[in-house]
Point group: C2
Amino acid sequence: MPRRSLALSRVYRLLEPGPVVLLTTSRNQRPNIMAMSWHTMIDFEPPLVGCVVSDRNHTFGMLRATRECVINIPTVELAPRVVACGNSTGRTVDKFSAFRLTPVAAALVKAPLIAECYANLECRVIDTRLVNRYNLFVLEVVKAWIRTGRKRPRTIHHLGGGAFMVAGKTIRLPSRMR
Amino acid sequence: MPRRSLALSRVYRLLEPGPVVLLTTSRNQRPNIMAMSWHTMIDFEPPLVGCVVSDRNHTFGMLRATRECVINIPTVELAPRVVACGNSTGRTVDKFSAFRLTPVAAALVKAPLIAECYANLECRVIDTRLVNRYNLFVLEVVKAWIRTGRKRPRTIHHLGGGAFMVAGKTIRLPSRMR
């Protein structure tokens, strides 16, 4: 599935609608995947993202130690595998192998892209002041990728309790918001 | 439109999917409304929310001074009025009056609920450490309201450039995520 570089100024359009994402990290050549819904844009360009990674997650220690990750955005076709990632832990499971996901080398960070995802955002941790209190990391997106030749992606959005909203139709309104 | 109190432990289910929200504030008996998409859950209970309010917005000064606000969640029927709120500034426009939105007294904060919205979260600012650098406020939801007798709301999700995704169908998967 060919992908192209996406202008960093366009990254907010991927994260603002609130999709479930898959956060990848890598430490000592061992990559991991975590499902995540707690993220927000913080600035447009360079794109800054705030995300909360529970200190009970295996990813927490990897992210704090390596200060690098990739935010991968899946579409509804991957929903069962997203849930499988959320239901298991990287302490005992190699999720790439167990859930048939393909790691692809990133350009600027050690954490891998997930080939099956619609978009991939390579990130560096730039602020950890709120990590001790809230597990909140501030990330800078340093490189963005998007699949080519694809219509509006049907992202999934976590509603809790096993329910997910699937992105519906797009409407256009005369908004002057960016 | 009758509304009931919502358990604070359920608040995350409203914000995790990433809806556009309307943030209300009030200062010197003058309420204001801002459209916002940059928010994330930070903790389940008490529910903590991170949100970014640009220091170019009239709401920024009101929020920093009063340390109180309400997060109101609109559905697609209100989309034109949400966009109108986003396209104007409280410095010169009384948005409640101009866009036919109804302020309702909150229980615990001075900022008003918007009656036409599906849900309303009364919030207090509890951490401003990242305000100077990122305009990022940490809020605690102290009281939550939801409209009674209503099916899954059709929230709107900002895609940028005048486009909004409308919440589509709900799917269920065996997720063990909360």
